[in-house]
């Protein structure tokens, strides 16, 4: 192991290129298998319970609700893939729950490890983080399903209800502190703009996952302005 830790630049480059190829290879195969499994499962279940899916209802349902999710899938892919990297990206799209868990989880791990996006270190940390997070969800759900009968009354009790209704605000509150304190000036404008938007168009509060886009775009534009001012010599 010790000769590995001191590998020279060339060997490191080569190793990482090989690692990267492997990641894409395993990522693609497992994604393809999962697509087949997820789409095949309803048919296998159909064989067991004796009724196949009604394909015309599928088509109609898809047109009514599916299109919105198709658009948001494309957007999620374009926005989150660069944040997650290769390994993290494949895993996160297989295991889901991106906005409310995987993305903040990977950002937090990255913050703790202090890695920069686009580096190999970041790719590794991000993959570790998404894999660990996915496994925890799988374990918690498996235990939960196993203990469903004794757990159900506790988890659904009136006392605990408000706590679980507020998992997301609790998550983003903590993350907001972490990110706002280092970028207070940058955060102020999107926060004020988004707040005003929701105040004047209250119906948008149910569309928060879509409102991330304009909010993110404004913040990136502001960050770009601030950053190009900082180094006026380099600005094209």
């Amino acid at each position: 192991m010790s000769e590995n830790t001191n590998m020279n630049a060339n060997a490191r480059e080569e190793y990482l290129a090989k690692y990267d190829r492997g990641t894409h290879w395993i990522g693609r195969i497992s994604t393809a298998v999962c697509i087949v499994l997820f789409l095949g499962a309803p048919f296998v279940i159909g064989l067991y319970i004796g009724a196949m899916p009604n394909l015309s209802a599928i088509a109609k349902g898809y047109l009514s609700v599916g299109l919105v999710w198709t658009v948001s899938s494309v957007v999620e892919f374009l926005v989150y893939t660069p944040m997650l990297g290769a390994g993290g990206g494949y895993l996160a799209f297989i295991t889901g729950n991106l906005i409310n868990m995987k993305i903040p989880c990977a950002m937090n791990a990255r913050e703790i490890a202090g890695t920069k996006s686009g580096t190999s270190e970041n790719e590794i940390i991000s993959t570790l983080s998404i894999a660990a997070s996915s496994l925890i969800t799988i374990v918690v759900l498996a235990l939960g399903v196993l203990l469903l009968i004794p757990l159900q009354p506790i988890l659904q009790s009136e006392t605990l209800k408000p706590a679980f209704a507020n998992v997301v605000p609790a998550l983003f509150g903590a993350m907001a502190y972490q990110y706002y304190r280092k970028n207070l000036k940058l955060a102020l404008i999107p926060l004020v703009l988004m707040t005003l938007l929701y105040i004047f168009v209250p119906s948008l509060t149910s569309q928060t996952s879509l409102m991330i886009l304009p909010s993110g775009a404004i913040t990136i534009a502001l960050a770009y302005l601030a950053w190009s001012k900082k180094k006026p010599g380099d600005a094209a």
Partner: protein, 248 residues
């Protein structure tokens, strides 16, 4: 109907798929860990990344478990268990399942009117609508990331573009967080009519409590050099934030 949906073969079908996904995660994790060691990353850093992600994910996962419980009343336990263990997201599954129930003509998502065909149709629609992230990932993850990296190299000489890639990710995340924070404030101010200040204030308080606790954690981690705290700070902040919702 619910008996069939909760029968052993259903658990077997769904459980095997979940097991496969778990194995994929383990493979990725072991590879990444080994690669990290091989290129000389600090073992501690790698361990922190894992432990922080574990503590981070417990509470949201319990939230997701509630989704399984919520859907199990109409779809049985195994299918929601599969959907939410893998690709799904809570807000998505419920919405699509309800829309699908309408399309198959049972009107509502309820065990009393569920038929075998309604179930398989709902199940397939739930899988289908959210499959596109995976499809795109399968075909374009590699070329997309390469393209981004290529861009970076073209202008890489000036180390400047590289600087912005990182700043852009941070900015995107700040935008994301701001969209949520804004929705809590907006929801309170205008949730029950514009400027009535009658809306739900609990999310704001939860977010603020959670942020304050996070500040305390950060103080101890940075000023008192209790670095190990970082792995638990988000989970701890969330827990106390959520407790505030109970007290309110």
């Amino acid at each position: 109907m619910l008996e069939v949906l909760n029968s052993a073969p259903m658990y077997l079908i769904c459980g095997l798929i979940i097991l496969f996904v778990a194995l994929v995660c383990v493979v990725f994790m072991v590879r990444a860990y080994k690669a990290g060691i091989a290129i000389g990353m600090d073992k501690k850093k790698l361990n922190y990344a894992v432990t922080s992600s574990i503590t981070f994910s417990i509470l949201p996962s319990i939230g997701i478990l509630l989704g399984v419980i919520a859907l199990s009343g109409s779809l049985g336990t195994p299918w929601p268990w599969l959907r939410l263990s893998v690709i799904g997201a809570l807000h998505y599954e419920t919405q699509v399942a309800e829309a699908a129930a309408e399309q198959v003509g049972i009107g509502q998502l309820s065990a009393s009117v569920m038929t075998p065909q309604a179930f398989t149709t709902i199940a397939l629609l739930m899988s289908l609508c959210i499959i596109w992230g995976m499809v795109l990932s399968l075909f374009f993850n590699k070329s997309y990331l390469k393209k981004l990296q290529g861009k970076k190299k073209d202008s890489g000489e000036t180390a400047k573009k590289e600087g912005f890639g990182d700043a852009a990710m941070t900015a995107m995340f700040i935008g994301l967080v701001s969209a949520y924070m804004g929705s809590y404030i907006g929801g309170f101010v205008s949730g029950k009519g514009m400027f009535t200040f009658q809306g739900d204030y609990v999310p704001i308080i939860v977010a603020v409590v959670s942020a304050l606790v996070m500040a305390v954690f950060t103080y101890f981690a940075e000023k008192k050099h209790m670095v190990w705290l970082e792995s638990f700070s988000i989970a701890g902040s969330m827990l106390i934030g959520m407790l505030a919702a109970i007290v309110l």
